[in-house]
Amino acid sequence: MSETAVSIDWDRSKSEEEDDDEEEEEEYSSPMQSFPGPPPPPSANFEKDRHLVYLEMMYELLPYHYQSQEINRLTLAHFIISGLHFLNAKDRVDKDVVAKWVLSFQALPSNRVSLKDGEFYGFFGSRSSQFPVDENGDFLTHNSSHLASTYCALAILKVTGHDLSTIDSELLLLSMKNLQQDDGSFMPIHIGGETDLRFVYCAAAICYMLDSWSGMDKEKAKNYILNCQSYDGGFGLIPGSESHGGATYCAIASLRLMGFIGVDLLSNDSSSSVINPSLLLNWCLQRQANDGGFQGRTNKPSDTCYAFWIGAVLKLVGGDALIDKIALRKFLLNCQSKYGGFSKFPGQLPDLYHSYYGYTAFSLLEEPSLSPLCPELGLPLLAATGI
């Protein structure tokens, strides 16, 4: 089993927008790895029932992973639970058990006074970054609340219809503001870490889901995002860096969540917009490769997850009609596993990360059996829960 690899996967919580590395998401690989033999020929349909079996198995396995101290379990749980909602199978999820479990990852200060010390009180990735309460009842020697874990926690709660007003959002948001840097970017965790667009997006999505922008300075964040637009129209993770599919998604989705860009951005005269939409469109469309899939960067192989990262950007700017949807569908079906789930590249074994973004991509393609997509949050659109 791939158990060992999973067990010390410490930093997966940060990797959800991560890039094009072959090994990168290997850790998500499913128990299916034990099936030998060549990949079966691709199905011509989105195999909803098989995906359901796949996700249900993952759902059941969570407690086992828990024992192995797997560190970014909130992220994995988000993929499973939000994935089940995409498949319109929310009845398979015990909403109350999930909520209780998610809330147990929340970091809380011993008292409100300690708020001033610059710590962030969100959610941590998993138990192993959570410290036990010591004899003095002194909680949290090291508070490792992480922006990405917090995004995933809130996403799960939101998708399952948990009432977010039960969370002390003021505490969470005010302490989150400590993470914002002078240049507008965010670090993921109060003790420091690389700052880039991934965490600006997490912060924006958190504010949006909690329905309050007290957690960030929107103007500053906007300026940081604009500084990340590259010469080709895409966005890099930090100012001056090369355009990248995940970073471009973070930029555009954040601008949308913050209200700086509206629908149908493309039909706008390019010069009246804060970003350069025509270059952006050109860059995004060139990411669809000859095999129909989307690549994260120029001259890189197509990868399932970029069907979402780039596809959602196109949807957000009103350019999704320009996608070659038939070719994209064909590519994605080549990445669909016989056992359910999606792999990164055609013919490989599936993993949770690529499965989830496979579902979002099919939802973007308006697959009838899937819940529609809220592209800026990367979550299923569920009228009942207000998404």
């Binding site: 089993m1 158990e3 060992t4 067990s7 010390i8 996967d9 410490w10 930093d11 940060k14 890039d19 090994e23 128990p31 299916m32 790895q33 034990s34 059941e60 396995l61 969570l62 407690p63 192995s68 101290q69 058990v97 192993s128 970054s129 020697t141 090291h142 003790i191 420091g192 870490g193 690389e194 010469y231 080709d232 890099g236 001056g240 860096s241 090369e242 209200g259 509206g262 149908d264 039909s267 706008n268 005269d269 010069s271 009246s272 270059l279 469109l281 860059w283 469309l285 060139q286 960067r297 120029t298 001259n299 890189k300 009103g318 009609a321 320009l322 070659d324 529609p372 592209p375 659109l381």
Partner: protein
Amino acid sequence: MHGRPRKASKPEEEAASAAKAVKLRSLQSQFMTYHHDKIYTKEAIELSTKLLEINPEAYTAWNYRKLAVEDSLSRIGPDPSLVKPILDEELRVVENALKQNFKSYGAWHHRKWVLSKGHSSTGNELKLLDKFQKLDSRNFHAWNYRRFVVELTNRSEQDELQYTDDMINNNFSNYSAWHNRSVLLSSLLANRADGFVPEKKIPDEYEIVHQAIFTDPDDQSGWFYHLWLLDQTVNVESPLLTSSWPSHGSSVILSGAGCFNGSPSNFTTFCSETGSFPLILYFDQAVGGVSSLTVTLDSELKGNENLVWEPISNKSSQVSCVWVARLNFSSQPCGSKDYKVKVRLGNSPGIVSSRGFNFSAPYEFVFTAHVHDPAKDSQERIVSWTDGFELWDAQSKDLNSLVTLGQLNAGIDLKWRQAAIDSEIECFRLLADSKIGKLTLARLLMASEAMMSDAAVKGVHYEEILQLYNDLMALDSSHHHYYKDEHSVAFLHKVTSSSESLSRYLFRYRDMNNLVCLRLNKLSLSRIASVNKLLFVQMLDLSHNELHSTEGLEAMQLLSCLNLSHNRIRSFSALDSLRHVKQLKVLDVSHNHIGKHSVDTTRYLCSSPLSNSDLSQDDVRRQNPGLVTKYWDAYFVLRDLNLKQLDIAGNEIAGDEFNSFVLQVVPKLVWLNGQKPGN
């Protein structure tokens, strides 16, 4: 959610991985104890090293090491000979981690952190990077780290530019190197480093990129760089005024509400219930700071001393390409009279582009306003889009009294730009058999047209451009829609390139004061463009096209009748820009796709303006909250318009319920779907 048996795997594998897991778990829990108890002994630090060797992404372990380093440094004082070994050890651990996982965010960040602690031997960093970048020339962590080191060590940007030369020569398709080149060159050009002036460097860069493109025309790297160069060639930093209404030297006839008959056909007649008319400024890029301080008005029209300028933009933003002020003409003495109005801008600073550049070239324009007494009330007749049009008068073919089609401020240095574009056009005709070659050629020709000021040759390229896009649509069906949009843009540029071509589409609408009507119907347009040349249009027929939205039309402040029937409008939100067109009375959106795509309407639920608590409750919302929620997109557009005539038949949304809702939101509506409501 309890355990279900997992699929079996080979027993020996199971055993090995289980043993490994047990070992790791014990390492990990020991490490967490050290971390929790703030123990930074040699043994404890070595344990974190071990963990990081196994998993370089273990960010808790990197954070622990930072605390440990801080702890050691605080105890040894500033002696560099003692500091160095501690930092060296950190760099060693990072290097090992990177060998394990080259893309570890945590490891690269730790290295930056160590360097920022003041490690002196930064020269080694570039050597290390050279090694890594040889192994993977596209690794963006390495490139980001390179830019970090360059900044930290003040290495010259010209040296780095040379490095990108080497990388590109080594492999033309190294996109990362091209990207870095654009970053460096932008900075060198912006700072006017020695010899780095655009008119010299940009042509040189074209030469360099040609080598890449002609070596391997299938590789995108060079093409993107070329597109960026084209952008640098065409775009001028300072904002320019591209057009205005009224335009320079024009005359307008102004009258109160009602019909003014017998106006000469080469003038625009503008009737207003409020006794004011819009003064429109159209800039080539979004600007802020347009006010009565930055735009001065010499006018015989009384009551316009403190004009209020408003940006026309869909966001509540204070920057826009289009700015409008309303000039009052109702407080003039009775009887017909002419008034001269002179508008000046750019004399005092304050108009600034969103990128921070000043509008600097002073510009002024003069127009004449003929103010007439209001005529008798007109009847509210239905506007028909099928008859009542008169061909554009041959004598008024010269449109100069209505619109300026040429460039306004030609005060920019066009010479080197035109020369560069011309030589590129020549060069790319050679590659015009490939898709990207055709696309690039079409873009170059468009750029050439945009910079052409000589009326004699203006417009010569459009046939070729349209043909190129037609070819592309046939050759590359997966990007069909994109080419179609570009084709529409080129077509509209062509239409507005000269008064001859524009007058072919112009008509007078007899029944309403000889309204100036532009008929661009049945042209399979999928996008609107060139609106800055169409500010004088009062009636616009865009029926039987493939439009998805009305974005761009908001600048047409004189527009009173708009026909969008038989297009591809999917929701009322796509008509949002019309909320700015206060003059609009007649709107035909029949036979579109409104209401057909439920998904798109639902998705707005998460950002529906209804959730905005600032919005005031009006009667419609109080009386009919259910329908407002159901038809909120229609509600938000229609309540801000002053429509007299609306056609929505042939849409999924149309029906008795929606019709009655429309009448509640727009009680002043006289014609709905060709009938008087209530009849």
